[in-house]
């Protein structure tokens, strides 16, 4: 698989302060890659270095193999960017903004016309086309910003908190768009504070204080946070003696004498559940129910970033 983004040892200092402190990222082509982390973790700064908007104090970035500091314009032609803060011209109308960027990206007459119309339909902007961008509602601004980022059909889409301040239906719509783009082969780098959204990412990097604290699929991140998967069992009696010496850590126990509900930490829930049930039955503990316990990414996130 080709690498869409390769960021190596990125460091950014502002004055004496290290906002980004040795970040390495490898984003494969065609994936949705989530960059998560608390406020001030350095996500936007990392993104700006990836796009060549900030010069790294040290380290380098390649986008589809192209060095960003050296050949930035080539990178721009294949990259779309939606910044964290609305950055289009508030004193131009929706249509004027789109036309401007279409021209800047070299879209010609009819082609530009068609593309603008297409995106206006897709993002429900047509009826607002003559409204000043500054007069749009928050959600409309985000739709316009995304439409502009997609004008030149980029291979890489970088979106910094696209769903901040966006209502649930539109959030869902945005994520449907991202998945659709992914199906068409577009690579997406996205930051978000919504963990339900992050579950949609193929891979996640969790940033904390300028560093990547964890990286992997959402599942891997959760395992990393808790040291494995959680499974929950409802059994008769007290299973605790039976669990002695078995490779699973008991994290929660709740019993009323006749039944108990236990939570165990295992390396892999799907593999562990059957042998675990068998083992308990063999040792005379009747298992009523056994199932993997979904942990939320949010729990994992808080655990990994606050160290609790």
């Amino acid at each position: 698989m080709a690498l869409a983004i390769e960021a190596v040892n990125l460091v950014k200092e502002f004055g004496g302060f290290r906002a980004v402190d040795g970040v390495n990222l490898r984003v494969e082509e065609g994936v949705i890659f989530g960059l998560l982390g608390p406020n001030g973790a350095g996500k936007s700064t990392t993104i700006r270095m990836i796009l060549g908007l900030l010069k790294p104090t040290s380290g380098y970035v390649r986008v589809f193999g192209i060095d960003v500091e050296r050949n930035r314009r080539e990178v721009l032609r294949i990259t779309g960017y939606m910044p964290q803060h609305f950055s289009l011209y508030e004193d131009l109308t929706v249509e004027e903004n789109m036309r401007l960027y279409a021209s800047l990206f070299g879209l010609k007459g009819g082609e530009a016309e068609e593309r603008i119309r297409e995106l206006m339909d897709e993002f429900v902007l047509w009826e607002f086309r003559n409204r000043l961008a500054g007069k749009l509602s928050g959600g409309m601004k985000q739709r316009l910003a995304l439409a502009v980022a997609l004008l030149h059909r980029p291979k890489l889409l970088v979106v910094d908190e696209p769903t901040a301040g966006v209502d649930p239906p539109l959030r869902r719509y945005f994520w449907e768009k991202f998945r659709e783009l992914k199906r068409r082969g577009v690579t997406i780098l996205v930051t978000t504070h919504y963990m339900d959204e992050a579950e949609n990412c193929d891979r996640i990097a969790l940033m904390s204080r300028g560093r990547v604290a964890a990286e992997g699929t959402p599942l891997q991140i959760k395992r990393l946070a808790f040291g494995g998967d959680l499974v929950e069992l409802v059994v008769e009696g007290d299973p605790r003696p039976a669990l002695d010496g078995y490779g699973a850590r008991l994290v929660e126990f709740e019993g009323d004498g006749s039944y108990s509900r236990i939570r165990l930490l295992v390396p892999d829930a799907s593999e562990a559940l059957v042998p675990l049930t068998k083992m308990l039955e063999q040792r005379g503990v009747k298992v009523v129910r056994a199932y993997p316990l979904p942990v939320s990414l949010e729990d994992a996130f808080i655990r990994l970033t606050t160290g609790r």
């Binding site: 908007l53 010069k55 721009l76 990259t79 910044p83 803060h85 950055s87 070299g106 502009v148």
Partner: protein
Amino acid sequence: MRGMGPLVALVAKDVKQLLRDPRSLTMVLFMPLAVMAMFVAGYGEERSEVPIVVVNLDRGSISWQLVESLRSSGTFKIVAYAATVEEGTELVRKGVAYAAVVIPEGFSDSVLTGQSTRIVTVLDAAYATVSELVWQSAVIATQAFMKKASELYGTFYIDVERQTVYGPKVSSVDSFTSTIMGVLLHLVPMSLIAVSISRERERKTFEQLIMAPVSSWHIVFGKFIAYALVTVADMVVTMAFAVYALGVQVRGPLPALLAVSLLMLLCSLGMGLLISAASRNQLQAYQAAIFVFIPSMLFSGFFMPVELLSPTARLVSRVLPLYYFLKAFRNIQLRGWTLADVSQECAALALETAIFLAAAVRVLRLKVE
């Protein structure tokens, strides 16, 4: 004392905000000092002498004593001796000298025989302040000469007569038109465009703009052309208002005046763009624009012809676009020169514009820091 709490809080807030913008603060503190220093350097040193032409038709020894008295007055620098009145007047007309002092034939005889005689000063009315100075100094020098000479040769009387080229009299509206146009064409477009890029930075639109494959060349010239188109209309209207509504007289061709004004406008825009490319926020840009304007005002012939300033100030003036503009504009408006006559000044303006634009393209960084 109801309401003092919020007032104190607001004062404290604003003081903090002022102190936390060190660049602007330095500018605020440094500006008055710098301006005073400039002023002293330009105007405080002994001032330069006014170039004049002497037409000595008499050639007798006494007339040379008068010439000596003019020279030693400290006001004049004799840059040429002309053989005829026409030749002397022509030198004034061309701007080589601000005045010609004509000593008539038979001057020495008149003095020796105790008759009254007169010398003629041919003044350049296009520069009202200078011609006034020349006239007064000529009278004083002549009186000094009379006093000294009468001890030797007995009483006589010399009258100082006044003639003008480009005269008879230039109204103050006419002579201030160039100054007003200079301010309008320099300060207004420069400060307008100076904040243009930093405004995009502050509003964050710059971050999106530089994600398009544009170069700093595109950005600089995009702004340059747009602002030129808008401000040119303004310039033409102002000029038309001056000429047709206020009745400002223009001796030279009006298109030439417009051409010179256009060049000045473009040069100001170029200068403003350089400031814009170099500054981080709008406030800085604005202050820099004002700061740049001050030496222009002091050293470009705004208040007083550059020739009368100190040698240092004259040197500084040579890099100021406004100096070339005022010179060209006045010569066209008041002396009736044509565009060809001011081609050097035009070339200087065009060259400076090109330098400013090239520098702006170089200085502008397509980064958000």
